[in-house]
Amino acid sequence: MAKYFNEAMETATRDQLYHLQSYNLSRTIHHVYKNMPMYRERMDAIGLKPEDIHSIDDLHKLPFTYKQDLRDGYPYGMFCVEPKNLIRIHASSGTTGKQTVVGYTQNDIDLWAECAARALVAAGADKDDFVHVSYGYGLFTGGLGLHDGAQKMGATVIPASSGNTARQVTMLQDFGSSILCCTPSYALFIADTLKEQGITLDKIHLKAGLFGAEPWTEQMRAEIEERLGIKAYDIYGLSEISGPGVAYDCECQNGMHINEDHFLIEIIDPDTGEVLPDGEQGEVVFTCITKEALPLIRYRTHDISSITHEKCACGRTFVRMQKPCGRSDDMLIIRGVNVFPSQIESVLLSCGTVDPHYMIYVDRKNNLDIMEIQVEVSADNFSDHVKGMEEMAAKINAGMQSTLGLASKITFVEPGTIPRSEGKAKRVVDKRKLH
């Protein structure tokens, strides 16, 4: 069994990587300066020219890119290639109703597939494996990302997509699935279903799983490994950068290797923007150095983590990042869906609540995330009969479904019961203990 998908690259010396990264960074900056007007203006504003970027040592001189930029350029304003050169579009839920849209050329898809293939091989997959992909297929990058990766490394893909757990369990038994790809909470939900149906581990053939798209803990890893009888690997990604496979666990399970020949990582102080040294926690910032359609430069992910350049026992030389341990903004990840409190507020406003006071409670029951939104009743949404209140709750819930694609429980509470805070309101109580 091969240990690496691309040994030459994954074990390149730091010196080789330095030169390759510097060359690709400089090339990408020229491409972006020429083709992404928003970023050119940002460079011009500080008098920076593409020629000023000689190596990755100059990375810190470059301006940041923000999620807001993608929103401002909705849908294709940030793309650096002609639309005819795009071969795929993906999107994730944005902060204010509009989605964050990303696009890929053939090369972009190929390099993403390569990154996902490296992650699969690092998790012990080879050509003989049946890769069961239970991430959602669609605009979300999870499903197709692992699908392309598994195909690239020559394994057999089972594109199960998400949902219908009873059928998934039948497939796990009958189709010979050996590698499972899904969110960690869904892996535990599958374990629950197996137990409920009295299916013992000798009836399934899983040996490993790649789990990501939502925060999870080492305790969850241990639980998944024990209950499914597999090794559980972390995989990290975000659609703005490409998708799953930006970083991946190796057999040491001691931090995720960044695919550094494609993506540069920096950890910064989210307040000052200053680059932080190895080991220090801060906001993760990525720079794409090989992409064509959407090569984002110094993209602020808002994920909080730290990195280390220490040599890994697996032989890979790529820098490793710790599991993200939080967010520098108020984004929540619920069942793999990015949720911003502002989206919930806009739904409440659209349902006729003029000055919504609300609190979002997120919990995990039977290994599935549940969201409850407590809304204070006011003259705007109070109805004298029960049916009216139930209709209001159903209307809000339908709004949440169409905006977020998530069901939520709407609970009305008395005015004044949700704590008021000075300055930034606290809108979220997350009881999941994910960090």
Binding site: V377, S378, A379, F382, S383, D384, H385, V386, K387, M389, E390, T411, F412, V413, E414, P415, G416, T417
Partner: protein, 136 residues
């Protein structure tokens, strides 16, 4: 026949109804009739009082969510079949009731039924036609 009813939103948690009735008592408000509509998470306390506008103002100042709704009252006989009589009358004229409750009047022989009816005008006309009186 048409009177004003006060509706108060009550969260479904232990002791909350007691707290709210205490607020009502503290403000020297006499409840003439009441009903509670309850669901898993909340209830709606509906009360009939002497001066609804004043009571609305007072309870709002106490931070409660309050609304005023007009309801129809009808005086019925306090004997078997007394309620059925008025409900049959409304039903046979296709008038539907959203919710209702009843209480005994000062005279033991009579009771009042309080009804929330969308087709308020038609209901009042019908009831009057058939000799029903309401609470004033």
């Amino acid at each position: 026949m048409i009177i004003k009813q006060i509706s108060i939103f009550v969260e479904n948690k232990p002791g909350r109804l007691a707290e709210i009735t205490k607020i009502i008592a503290k403000n020297n408000i006499n409840i003439r009739a009441l009903s509670v509509a309850d669901t898993t998470h909340f209830g709606i306390l509906r009360i009939i009082v002497d001066d609804p506008e004043e009571v609305e103002r007072v309870l709002k100042a106490e931070g409660l969510t309050v609304s005023i709704t007009s309801v129809i009252t009808a005086c019925i006989h306090n004997r078997p079949g007394g309620l059925a009589e008025v409900l049959e009358l409304l039903a046979s004229n296709d008038i539907t009731i959203e919710y209702m409750y009843a209480f005994i009047a000062k005279s033991e022989n009579e009771a009042y039924v309080v009804m929330r009816i969308e087709a308020e005008g038609a209901a009042v006309e019908l009831l009057k036609e058939h000799g029903f009186t309401g609470m004033e």
